[in-house]
């Protein structure tokens, strides 16, 4: 993701407002610019118009003056007295008449010339000798000749711009001309300016050094007195002129006149002309500002209306993220897009909530019985312990006996029905509240007991009583029994998991001892605290070769020959010394590490098998298999391969399986056993008589021998019942074509009794305790020598 510009991170509403306002300002600026441009253009047009008016006014004034002058001159020229004076040729008379007439009409000069333009008289005596006057007259004559009698003639006379008129004097025919000059005065400039509202500047230059300026305003006069560009006198110009920080729209007419140059400037200050629009701009500005404020408020309100619900939705999302699915989503009532968003969001929320409840239910409840499951139960116990609301509590764990068999015989559907019925019974009996009862695994239930209730033992007893009543399901009367374990916090365990575990341990103890209810005792657990480290140490033991194979001899009761041995594992711990099997084998069973032990044992045995052989007969070595071995699909292949690697025939190995190992999953165990049997292994049922195996099973299993449990062998000398059991077992085995091995033979009497009963093989301390392989070989030779079998 590319980095966004910083301003993009600004909140949506602020961005909204900013963009809108910028847009508005932009539009207003353009509007302002357009208005200003239009106004300036208007002002310029207005000024141009005014200048045109001013030019007309000026020309009108010139014409007026001209006509006035013409009239005056004509009046003079036609005056009989004047004509008489002219005729008299009396210069003084003529001069005085001229002066008189000039004064009468306001002319600045009056001159009389004859018809050949020869100077005859002037209004001022001192002018007569002036050569300038003669050349002026010549030029006037030439101009009149060129432009006609009606031409407006302007000349610089005595440095002043002067309008001249020439009027013929007739007596009666043309006898000469009266020339009259009318100086253009400052008041004419002022008048033209006043009439048109335009500044008028008249500049004259006599070609030498004299420059004269007449302006309608002082500052313009000052400006032009300082400098007048030459082109002002030569061209017609139209441009903007800067005068004292002001811009003047200027039109300048420069022209050459008799005796020099004239320049007439019409000027108007843009700023001054624009003054009337300043108020307009002011109003525009005020309206713009008011508009901006209104817009800002409106946009803020609008954006709030849009973004506020979004912010609330964001908050709601945050709440959802934190697991609060009951958060209220606002804005669902709105009919706009935001409302639609809020509604769909709310729909999503409630949908997630429902799904979550379903998931929760699935996660914390048992689908079959509707009871809380293990997870839920554990959570409840943990919560109670952590909350500190109670000073103590107990957990009762109930496990149905023989449920697997029931399931197998009657079918899973019936099993389910039994579980449901059990749940109902347990609920009805002790747990007034459902949340105290949980189905923690297949056939196991747990009950939470709080100190306010009856003692756990009493509750357990009443529960058991309920369970022991026969149950009728689908017209089948079923007897159920259960093993119950009780553990209490904080006496038996400090932690929740330990507590539950303790109750299970107690339950298993009850099952083992075939008792109904047992309260937890710490002895039940052999190595719990070291369990974790034990596992890793076991792993190390395998890799570091700390394990040892011990062999316990089996002797044929017929000829006392040592014909087989049971391989047992021992652990030569580097620090603890020799660790007895009961300290780690049950743990290995629990954790599944037993599979590794079995494999190690098989490998180890296979490698030493050849060394154990004596002559012609195959010396069999027995290996104990656990349930987990039987349930591992790859196990048979592993055994076969390993034996093949060491060239050990399958008949040289006997696999011993306990009854209970088979009964955990009889179907699969049966398949595995059949496979192993087909491979040629000799199979033996260990600890026969302690489990619940039915004879039907026994018949179907491909076993070769039975090992009578040592508990029966122990008692057979003193207890007749035991002797009968042993006898019956041996007979049964023989009838099924099996051989019988007796364990725990500790005395000669036992040995002889067994021999008498027909037991084929005997094993026990009377014969020999388990010993290392080398020791065993030595012992065997010794035994055979003692019995004369060498």
């Amino acid at each position: 993701m590319t980095a966004l510009p910083r301003w993009m991170h600004i909140r949506l509403s602020v961005r909204f407002i900013l963009i809108t306002l910028i847009l508005l300002i932009f539009i207003q600026t353009i509007g302002f610019w357009i208005v200003q441009t239009a106004v300036e253009r208007y002002v310029r047009d207005d000024i141009q118009h005014s200048i045109a008016v001013s030019e007309r006014v000026w020309n009108k004034l010139i014409i007026q003056n001209h006509q006035q002058l013409v009239e005056g001159a004509e009046l003079l020229a036609s005056d009989f007295g004047f004509r008489s004076a002219v005729a008299s040729k009396d210069e003084n008379t003529i001069s005085s008449a001229l002066a008189n007439s000039a004064q009468r009409i306001g002319a600045s000069v009056a001159i009389l010339v004859d018809q050949q333009w020869h100077l005859k008289a002037t209004s001022k005596d001192d002018m007569m000798k002036s050569s300038k006057l003669v050349s002026l007259i010549d030029e006037l004559a030439a101009t009149r000749q060129e432009k006609g009698e009606e031409a407006y003639i302007t000349a610089l006379y005595s440095g002043a711009p002067t309008q001249f008129v020439v009027v013929p004097v007739k007596a009666p025919r043309l006898v000469g001309y009266v020339i009259m000059g009318f100086a253009i005065e400052r008041d004419m400039v002022a008048e033209a300016s006043d009439l048109s509202g335009i500044d008028v500047v008249l500049m004259s230059n006599n070609g030498a050094s004299s420059v004269k300026v007449m302006a309608s305003s002082d500052r313009l006069e000052e400006h032009f007195l300082q400098d007048i560009p030459g082109r002002f006198f030569l061209e017609d110009l139209a441009f903007d002129m800067r005068v004292a920080q002001e811009t003047f729209v200027s039109v300048i007419h420069g022209q050459e006149v008799i005796g020099g140059f004239l320049s007439l400037a019409f000027m108007k200050s843009l700023e001054e002309a624009g003054t009337q629009f300043d108020e307009l701009f002011h109003q525009y500005l005020v309206i713009t500002l008011i508009g901006l404020v209104i817009f800002a408020v409106a946009v803020t309100w609008l954006s709030r209306r849009v973004t506020r619900p979004l912010e609330r939705l964001t908050d709601a999302t945050g709440a959802l993220q934190e697991g609060n699915y009951d958060v209220e989503v606002s804005g669902v009532g709105r009919m706009d897009e935001v409302g639609a968003l809020a509604r769909s969001f709310d729909g999503m929320r409630s949908s997630i909530k429902d799904q979550r409840e379903t998931i929760f239910k699935l996660a914390y409840n048992d689908a079959l019985t509707g009871l809380p499951n293990r997870l839920s139960f554990r959570q409840k116990v943990a919560d109670l312990i952590e909350s500190g609301e109670v000073s103590s509590l107990s957990v009762i764990t109930i496990n149905l006996d023989r449920f697997k068999q029931v399931n197998d015989v009657l079918g899973y559907e019936m099993g389910d029905e039994i579980l449901k019925a059990t749940a109902t019974r347990l609920l009805g009996e002790a747990c007034s509240a459902q949340d105290k009862l949980a189905r923690v695994s297949g056939d196991e239930f747990s009950v939470l007991v709080l100190p306010s209730e009856d003692t756990p033992m009493k509750i357990a007893q009443s529960l058991l009583a309920r369970l022991n009543e026969p149950m009728e399901i689908d017209h089948n009367l079923i007897d159920l029994s259960a093993s119950i374990g009780i553990a209490s916090w904080p006496i038996d365990a400090q932690q929740c998991d330990a507590l539950i575990n303790a109750s299970q341990v107690a339950m298993y103890a009850a099952k083992r001892r075939s008792e109904d209810i047992i309260s937890y005792k710490s002895e039940f657990v052999t190595s719990t605290p070291e369990s974790l480290s034990l596992l890793s140490e076991l792993r190390q033991a395998v890799t570091n070769n700390e394990l040892r194979v011990y062999l316990q001899p089996k002797v044929s009761t017929v000829d006392h020959r040592v014909i087989a041995a049971e391989a047992l594992v021992r652990w030569q711990h580097p620090e603890k010394g020799l660790v007895p099997p009961f300290k780690f084998v049950p743990f290995a069973e629990q954790t599944g590490f037993i599979r590794e032990l079995t494999k190690w044992m098989i490998r180890s045995l296979a490698s030493q098998w050849q060394g154990l052989q004596l002559g012609h007969e195959v010396f069999r070595v027995s290996v104990n298999l656990s349930t987990r071995d039987l349930l591992s699909p790859t196990f048979p292949d592993f055994v076969q391969q390993t034996l093949h690697d060491f060239q050990v025939p399958t008949t040289g190995v006997c696999l011993e399986i306990t009854e209970s190992a088979i009964m955990d999953d009889p179907t699969f165990a049966e398949q595995t056993l059949a496979k192993l049997s087909n491979m040629g292994f000799r199979l033996s049922i260990d600890d026969f008589g302690t489990g619940y195996s039915s004879l039907g099973y026994l018949k179907r299993l491909p076993v070769n021998e039975l090992k009578v449990d040592q508990s029966f062998v122990f008692g057979m000398i003193e207890d007749n019942n035991d002797r009968t059991i042993v006898q019956s077992t041996i007979d049964l085995a023989h009838n099924l074509g099996l051989e019988v091995v007796a364990e725990g033979v500790e005395t000669e009497a036992m040995y002889l009794a067994l021999r008498e009963l027909g037991c084929e093989e005997a094993q026990g301390y009377f014969i020999g305790k388990p010993m290392p392989v080398e020791e065993f070989i030595v012992w065997r030779d010794q035994w055979h020598k003692e019995h004369g079998l060498a």
Partner: protein
Amino acid sequence: MALNLKRDICFALCLMPTLAWSDVSIKIVDASGQPLSTAVVFLKSPDIISSSRPLTGVEIAQKDRQFIPGVQVVTVGTAIEFPNLDDVRHHVYSFSPAKIFELKLYAQKPEAPVTFEETGIIELGCNIHDSMLGWVLVNDSSIYATTNDQGLVTFPGYKAGDYSIDVWHKNFPYGAPFESFKVQVTDNDSAHTLQLETQGVSF
């Protein structure tokens, strides 16, 4: 009128070559050499001047705001009447040096005629009506004629000898005098061509 008639007779006589008396023929051309018509030509000699007398009964009437005749030729000492035939008054004046006078606003006939004592050209105007223009040509000779379209004028029946000629034309500028020439007239003389120097005559 009488003079014009006489001139016409003279003109007719001029065409007869067998006469004992010579004719004086004059041709007037302007500055550019073009024949000038309607120029007034005076024939002067001591004899003629001595025989000339002031005229009598000469008048310049004003009718329809015009001087009638527009050009009145008289000898020195002739008194001229200025009868006003119009129903408006006139103020006849002259600023010409040969005779400066004015007849202030009058109707019908002024109190006295104006006598022209000096030779010269007197331009007449009316102070009321600027368009009115007339001339009085005062000469010491009474012999004069007006050029025809060929610029020719002929004075019949004069002996050979030295003569002076005065010429005037309407287009002469204001104040310009008669332009004078000397001619020597011989028997069987042909026309004398006189070129005017006065400017502004040509059209």
